[in-house]
Every structure is written in structure tokens, then in C-alpha cells.
């Protein structure tokens, strides 16, 4: 057992400070365990989100020593413990209190995206025939646990605050999952270009690096979406078809 010092952000977005707490670290502990221990021992009113403690719900996102990660999947043995471990809330969103950010913007962003619209069923019982190889691609995107770490790290949101014009990597993954769903009949190309601002992404791949689900956000979701936009808007034949069909 060894005592480790943590510098934890206490306060809201406007005012606050890092407060130091020490607690004993035992074998196998993750950062979230340490935060809970601090909460139970010396800071009962510390605000922190969590649910599954197994990397499945995407609740416990925070910045540990400046790196956006899931606290429940960050083992203490992976961090230097001779210096204090710094924990602060995700910086791309306003802070409500302590480690809890206001992520409501994400829920609003999702609502703008047109929902799934399937073709008529293939089979009499109302089901469809789809093969595994047709759904592999979409299943990768559907692994997303909505932790918003990719949103946190994306400079378009974090540094340039384009929240009004840019939905962020999470929602490109979501749009890609809909657009590439074998059954979907909706077209979201126009809003991808305009309202969702896919053009702001300059393929830095920071989002892919932080994704705890290992989704290849940039290569598999964003680049194909950019190509769709380019094809539709800059290809004269596509442009004519759109004009003619009103799509």
C-alpha cells in the first residue's frame, strides 16, 4: 500500500481550484477507485459521474494528467505516482461542478441528425436479410459508448469553439453509421456539409487516438463522409441529378 497525492479540480467553470488529497492505493486500482476513495474519506460532496466501472457506459470521462480518458479504465500502475496525479473535467464543455461537465450540447447536436429510415422489409415477418459482411462496417461505429472524449480532444470544439457549426467526431461516427446502414434510405449529405460542418475537420486524427472503443473515426467514418459530400457537391453529374430529382 502506498499513499498517492491527487490534484482534483474543485469548483465550477468560473471559479475553482485544484485541491490536493492523499489516499492509499492498493493492487489493481484504477483512477476512478481512487476518486471514490477520496470522496468517501475526505470529500463527501465531490461531484463525479460513473456507472459501469468497466468501460461500457462512457460516463467517467475526464482529463488525467492532461490526457482525456475513462477514469475507470485507467490503472494507477500506468501513471507516475511519485508526483501528484492531476484530474480535471473535460475542457471542451462547461464545467458544472468538480469533475462533472455539462455535456447537454451533445444531446442537442444529435437531435438535428435525421433518424434512421429503413427500406420496406424483405421478409414477410417484417424483418430484413443482411449479411454479416454488410454490417461489419456499421457495427464498428455502433460500438460507440458516447463518452465524448473525441469531442473533448477535437481542436475545432476545444480551441475554436465551433459548437454552433460543427457537430464533432462523435456525430460523424453516428451519421456514418446511419448513412452506411444497409437498410437506411435517408440522405444526410447536404446537412453534413452545411449544418454539421464536416469541412472543418482537417484530419488530425486526435479523435481516433483517444477513442476507448478503438473506432477508426477519421479513416472509416469522416473521410468517407467527406468523399460523399465532395461527390455530391462537386461532381457535375451528381449535381444535375440532384437538381432534376430535387434530392
Amino acid at each position: 500500500m502506498a499513499s498517492v497525492t491527487f490534484r482534483i479540480w474543485r469548483g465550477d467553470g468560473e471559479t475553482g481550484e485544484f485541491v490536493e488529497y492523499s489516499t492509499d492505493i492498493t493492487e489493481g486500482m484504477v483512477v476512478l477507485d481512487a476518486v471514490h476513495q477520496v470522496q468517501a474519506e475526505s470529500a463527501n460532496d465531490l461531484a463525479v459521474r460513473w456507472n459501469c466501472k468497466a468501460g461500457k457506459c462512457g460516463s467517467c470521462s475526464a482529463e488525467v494528467n492532461g490526457v482525456p480518458r475513462l477514469m475507470c479504465m485507467t490503472r494507477m500502475t500506468d501513471l507516475p505516482t511519485d508526483v501528484p496525479v492531476t484530474i480535471e473535467p473535460m475542457q471542451a464543455f462547461p464545467t458544472l461542478k468538480d469533475l462533472v461537465p455539462d455535456v447537454s450540447w451533445n444531446y442537442e447536436a444529435k437531435k438535428q441528425i435525421k433518424p434512421f429510415k429503413p427500406r420496406t422489409p424483405d421478409n414477410e415477418d417484417g424483418s430484413w436479410t443482411m449479411y454479416q459482411e454488410d454490417v461489419d462496417r456499421v457495427q464498428e461505429f455502433r460500438k460507440c459508448i458516447e463518452c465524448f472524449l473525441c469531442q473533448d480532444v477535437c481542436h475545432v470544439l476545444r480551441d475554436h469553439h465551433k459548437h454552433e457549426e460543427f457537430v464533432g467526431p462523435r456525430y460523424f461516427v453516428y451519421t456514418a453509421a446511419l448513412e452506411m446502414h444497409p437498410l437506411d434510405t435517408e440522405d444526410r449529405t447536404e446537412e453534413l456539409k452545411k449544418a454539421f460542418g464536416v469541412g472543418y475537420c482537417n484530419i488530425t486524427k486526435c479523435c481516433t487516438v483517444v477513442c476507448p472503443e478503438g473506432i477508426t473515426i477519421t479513416d472509416n467514418a469522416i473521410i468517407p463522409l467527406k468523399e460523399r459530400v465532395a461527390d455530391t457537391f462537386y461532381d457535375p453529374i451528381q449535381w444535375l441529378i440532384r437538381k432534376a430529382t430535387g434530392k
Binding site: 492498493t26 493492487e27 489493481g28 486500482m29 484504477v30 477507485d33 470522496q39 468517501a40 463527501n44 460532496d45 465531490l46 461531484a47 463525479v48 459521474r49 460513473w50 456507472n51 459501469c52 466501472k53 468497466a54 468501460g55 461500457k56 457506459c57 462512457g58 460516463s59 479504465m73 490503472r75 458544472l96 461542478k97 468538480d98 462533472v100 455535456v103 444531446y107 444529435k110 437531435k111 433518424p115 434512421f116 429503413p118 422489409p121 415477418d125 417484417g126 424483418s127 430484413w128 436479410t129 443482411m130 449479411y131 454479416q132 454490417v135 456499421v138 457495427q139 455502433r142 460500438k143 460507440c144 459508448i145 458516447e146 446511419l178 446502414h181 437506411d184
Partner: protein
């Protein structure tokens, strides 16, 4: 004054059951408010792994709803509400197809249909799934569909009181976690879909949300609880490292061919096979393996017996000194490389989150080494008593669905029967709550009830903080429930637990909290204590009463089933003087047409 909002129907809980109920109520043209403690999409349902049971018969054409019904009743040791079990088996396939229509992408068969996997107690491969993250697929599908159905969502809002007008429910009182402000929700009908009680125990697969709020608040509102002694201990939770003890290891590992071994390398599950399942269980390891690989002539390996039995066998091995180094047994999936050419990738594809979980949290590569596992508190079969058709509780206007409701699973739930339960009965509850709202106008909110609920909720701030804090009281309860009301129970220990709980109530009522009302974990925990104490007392006292062993309830002092107890269920309710009343009542007879299906599928 607390802010007041009005909805025809209020749904409390945004897991599979709550979301499905809200969608259905909204489809019936009433206004709907949906309230949840966490952010949308984070409810417990997101954690479900193995799959969702429905007799689609895509993998084995012999399957149909009758077999599913009979399996569910056998698994529940016939303590189930047979009406619910029949509705569930009949309607589950449509509910799965409906999820597909709303965008869910299940794993596929060679023929391009929804793939189904084997699970304990199910005769045929029956669980529609997506790798080992089926719950995520379900909750995301319902969430993404639900946000376009005109439902108002109130996230991170906790309800702590039910408002009544005479006999009838007319609303709930809540606080928002962010600011700690009170809110009153006025409603014509209320649906509880609040989940389970796992946080009453120390070792559990459940999250902080599972403090039995729905069960306890319904109880205080006058509703009856049933079957509270039936708590499911899942046989395979992680046991090491200590900080992850209890986290679930899906049954899907065994469904894919994983085997249990003790420290002597023996597949101990072959040593004790209950009579009820003798005919359906493999005689040899070879037969068991073939079964997991889809051979229709083979019978299932004993690792896939019901959860209660597997959990007790593991306990026995550990107790008799044949456990693993950290007090569990070994679960080995890596061995399948003897039989499968590309086993490593196969495991990673079929069980990706298990691979990830062990790699990240325990430093173990499950494609190469065995896991260490042991029982963990997982699921409450007991809960709010509901009508089998409408899901209404014994209090008019209060409905319940999902894990917080009781009846479907009897003495033991089969894996995969919860996810299907959520959508089958979520839909029914939403529909009947909407109908109730249409048939009944607004009731009257009594400001006196609102004021007194708020006063009670604020009391911890006025109390000194030098006594035991909220977390310490919670830990003390969890510790005792684990030791005395766990997998193996005894009269004297259960009674000791009942006494302990009443002593702890005094401490809970003295808990003080510091800080302000904003996102204050200590305050929230202090308010959860009453709920935890109510469900714990109900579990312990129902367990004292049932002097036999059945399903998940195992009594060391009454190790056998007792026929007369088999015809009874436990009921818990609040007596007129405010004390808890626990009694046994006769189970209603199973209708003859359903009894016949059971006989045909023995």
C-alpha cells in the same frame, strides 16, 4: 416553491424498460415525461452483454414460443407468474424485430438473419446478440428512436417520493442532481422502470443507481412487493484485482465453449447435475463442446446449467479448498484453440469486451490464459407486484416494468430473459399507463405531502457530520448483506441481519452531510439509504420466511425443495402502523392450457 411540470404519463427510468414504455405511451397520443438519475443512454441496460432471448428460430427451427415459455417456467421453478411468462415468450420475437426496424444491427447468420446464441437454461440457441455488447445496442436503438417521438427527457433528476390523491398516484417529487433544486411532476399515471437492488451487497455487477428506489418508493406508496428473497447471484464475476471484484463476466463465455475448472484442473460441473436437467445435459466434454458449436444432436455442457446452480457449485469448490488463488475458480475459453484453427481471433470477435475488460483491468489475455471468476450479486427477481396483463401495481395509476417489477422470472431468471422482458413489458406498461391516463383525469396534488417530502430530504444538511457518514453506513449494510443474506442462508444469520438493519436505520437517520446542494454525492447517498434499507429488510425477512431451498434462494438449514413452499410466494407490504409486514400467500394455479405446454416440454 418547487417547479411543477405536468404530463399525462411520467416514466421513471430510461433503461430498456423505461425507454420502451415512453415510446409506447407517446404513440398512444398522451404527453410523456421521462426521468432518469444518470445521463440518457447510461442506464444499466447499457451494460448487458450476452443477448436477448426470443424464439426467432433462426438458428434452430425447432424453437417456438412454447418451448421458450416452458424453459422460463422451469428456470423459475414454477414460481413465475405464468401469464407474464406466456406474454413474454409470445411477444419477444416481435420486439426483437421491432428493434431491427428502429436501426439495431444484430450479428447475422449465414442466411442473413438475426444470429442467436446458446445460454444457460434455454433449450435452443435463442439469444439475439451483438458480440458481447447487446445492451448497448438495445439502449442506443431505443434512445435514438425515442428522442424523435416527442418525449420530454429530464436527465440527472432523482425522484424520492410518490404523491397520492386518496388511493391513486398523481405524481412524484424529485431533485435535480446538478443544482439540488426540487421538482414536482404531476401525472395521471406513473411508470416505474427503475431497475434493481444490487448496491445492497458488497460484491455486485450493478452500478450506483441500483439502490432499489422504485421498489422502496412503491412500497411506501402502498404497493406490494413479491418474491423479494429471490436475488440472483451470477456465477461469474471478476474476483481479482480487488477493485473490480464483482464486475460481470458474461455467460456468453460459456455459451461459446468456455469451461469451469478447479485448482485440480477438474471440470467440476460434471460432478453435480440436478435431476430436473439430467436429460438435457451432456454426458461428456466432447458432447458439450459439440453443443456449443451448434450440433443439434448434442446436449448442453453442465457449465450452462441455471445460474443458481452454477454459483453454488463454485461456492462449494472454493469452500472445500479447490478454488483459484484469489478465491474463485477458473473459467477457460483459451482451451478452444485445441479445437478451432483461428481461436484467438474467434474469441476476440465473439467476446470483444471481455477480452478488453480482462486485458485492461486484470492484465490477463483471455485468448491465452484462464480467467478467475466467482459469484456476484446480479439481478432481483423480486420487486413490485404487477398485473400480468397491464403491469399496474396494487396502487391505481402506478405501473412497473423491467427489473423493478416482479413475476416473470419466479425463483430464478434465465440469462437473456431480462432484455426481452424490458421491451415486452415496457411496451405493455406504456400502453396501459396511457390508457389509464385517458380514462382518468387529473388528481389533486396535496402541497402538504410535497412540503414534508422536501423537509425530510433536506434534513441531512441540518444534522452534525461527526457521526458515521453516508458512505460508511452504506458500506456497513453491504458488508452484512453479503455475509448474512448471500448465496447460502441460515435462519440465525438471516435474523441477525434483520436486527442489524434495524440498528443501522437509527444510524442512517442520524447521517449528516456537508457542502451545498449542487451535485453532492454525499447528500445523494444519504437519501438513497432509506431505499437500500427497505429492500434489504424485505429480502432478509422474505428469506427467513421461506424454509426451503428453491432457485436462487438456498437455505443451508433447509437444503431441499419443499412442495408446500413451492406453492407459495412471499409478499411484503407496509402495515398501517408503518412497520414492514411479510407473509406468504398461495400462488394462483397455472391455467390448464399453459400447464399442458409445460407437460409437453418436460
Amino acid at each position: 416553491m418547487a417547479e411543477t411540470k405536468e404530463y399525462d404519463v411520467i416514466v421513471v427510468g430510461a433503461g430498456g424498460a423505461g425507454l420502451r414504455a415512453a415510446i409506447e405511451a407517446s404513440a398512444h397520443g398522451v404527453s410523456v415525461g421521462l426521468i432518469c438519475k444518470s445521463l440518457l443512454g447510461k442506464a444499466h441496460t447499457v451494460m448487458a452483454e450476452g443477448g436477448m432471448a426470443a424464439s426467432l428460430a433462426n438458428v434452430d427451427s425447432r424453437d417456438n414460443w412454447k418451448v421458450h415459455f416452458a424453459d422460463t417456467m422451469r428456470g423459475g421453478q414454477y414460481g413465475n407468474n405464468s401469464t407474464m411468462a406466456a406474454h413474454h415468450a409470445r411477444e419477444a420475437p416481435d420486439r426483437v424485430r421491432e428493434l431491427e426496424a428502429w436501426g439495431a444491427v444484430f450479428d447475422r447468420t449465414q442466411e442473413g438473419r438475426i444470429l442467436q446464441r446458446n445460454f444457460g437454461g434455454h433449450r435452443y440457441p435463442r439469444l439475439a446478440h451483438v458480440g458481447d455488447r447487446t445492451g448497448l445496442e438495445m439502449i442506443r436503438t431505443l434512445q435514438d428512436h425515442g428522442i424523435h417521438q416527442g418525449v420530454d427527457v429530464h436527465m440527472e433528476v432523482t425522484i424520492f417520493h410518490v404523491l397520492k390523491d386518496g388511493d391513486r398516484v398523481v405524481g412524484v417529487v424529485a431533485y435535480d442532481r446538478e443544482r439540488g433544486r426540487f421538482r414536482v411532476f404531476k401525472a395521471k399515471a406513473v411508470v416505474f422502470a427503475t431497475g434493481g437492488i444490487g448496491r445492497a451487497y458488497k460484491v455486485t455487477s450493478n452500478s450506483w443507481e441500483y439502490t432499489g428506489d422504485g421498489q422502496s418508493l412503491a412500497y411506501h406508496a402502498g404497493a406490494e412487493l413479491i418474491d423479494m428473497e429471490y436475488v440472483q447471484f451470477h456465477p461469474t464475476g471478476m474476483v481479482w484485482p480487488p477493485s473490480v471484484r464483482g464486475i460481470l463476466v458474461t455467460e456468453g463465455v460459456r455459451g461459446e465453449g468456455g469451461v469451469l475448472r478447479n485448482s485440480e484442473n477438474r471440470r467440476f460441473m460434471f460432478d453435480d447435475i440436478p435431476d430436473l436437467y439430467k436429460d438435457q445435459t451432456a454426458d461428456t466434454p466432447e458432447e458439450g463442446w459439440k453443443y456449443t458449436q451448434g450440433d443439434k444432436e448434442s446436449r448442453r455442457p453442465p457449465e450452462l446449467l441455471t445460474r443458481d446452480h452454477v454459483a453454488r457449485c463454485i461456492m462449494r469448490e472454493v469452500r472445500d479448498g479447490r478454488g483459484s488463488p484469489h478465491g474463485g475458480v477458473f473459467l477457460d475459453i483459451a482451451w478452444i484453440k485445441k479445437n478451432l484453427p483461428d481461436a484467438e481471433n474467434h474469441i476476440k470477435r465473439k467476446l470483444p469486451s471481455m477480452y478488453h475488460q480482462f486485458k485492461e483491468l486484470a492484465g490477463i489475455d483471455i485468448t491465452k490464459e484462464p480467467m478467475e471468476v466467482g459469484p456476484t450479486t446480479h439481478y432481483a427477481m423480486g420487486g413490485i407486484r404487477v398485473d400480468g396483463d397491464s403491469q399496474m401495481s396494487t396502487v391505481p395509476g402506478l405501473f412497473a416494468a423491467g427489473e423493478c417489477a416482479a413475476g416473470l422470472h419466479g425463483a430464478n431468471r434465465l440469462g437473456g430473459n431480462s432484455l426481452s422482458d424490458l421491451v415486452v413489458f415496457g411496451k405493455r406498461a406504456g400502453e396501459h399507463a396511457a390508457l389509464f391516463a385517458k380514462e382518468n383525469g387529473w388528481g389533486t396534488i396535496d402541497q402538504g405531502q410535497v412540503d414534508s417530502a422536501q423537509k425530510t430530504a433536506l434534513a441531512p444538511f441540518d444534522r452534525p457530520t461527526n457521526a458515521e457518514g453516508p458512505f460508511q453506513v452504506q458500506y456497513a449494510l453491504q458488508e452484512k448483506m453479503q455475509d448474512l443474506v448471500g448465496i447460502v442462508r441460515r435462519d440465525d444469520e438471516l435474523k441477525q441481519a434483520v436486527d442489524f438493519i434495524s440498528g443501522l436505520r437509527t444510524k442512517a437517520e442520524a447521517v449528516g452531510v456537508s457542502g451545498n446542494r449542487e451535485y453532492n454525492g454525499g447528500w445523494h447517498t444519504a437519501l438513497d439509504l432509506d431505499n437500500l434499507l427497505i429492500v434489504s429488510e424485505a429480502i432478509a425477512r422474505s428469506a427467513v420466511q421461506r424454509q426451503e431451498s428453491r432457485g436462487a434462494h438456498f437455505r443451508d438449514d433447509y437444503p431441499e425443495k419443499d412442495e408446500s413452499w413451492g406453492k407459495k410466494r412471499s409478499v411484503t407490504r407496509k402495515a398501517a402502523d408503518g412497520s414492514m409486514e411479510v407473509f406468504a400467500e398461495d400462488l394462483p394455479p397455472i391455467p390448464s392450457e399453459l400447464q399442458q405446454i409445460i407437460e409437453e416440454n418436460r
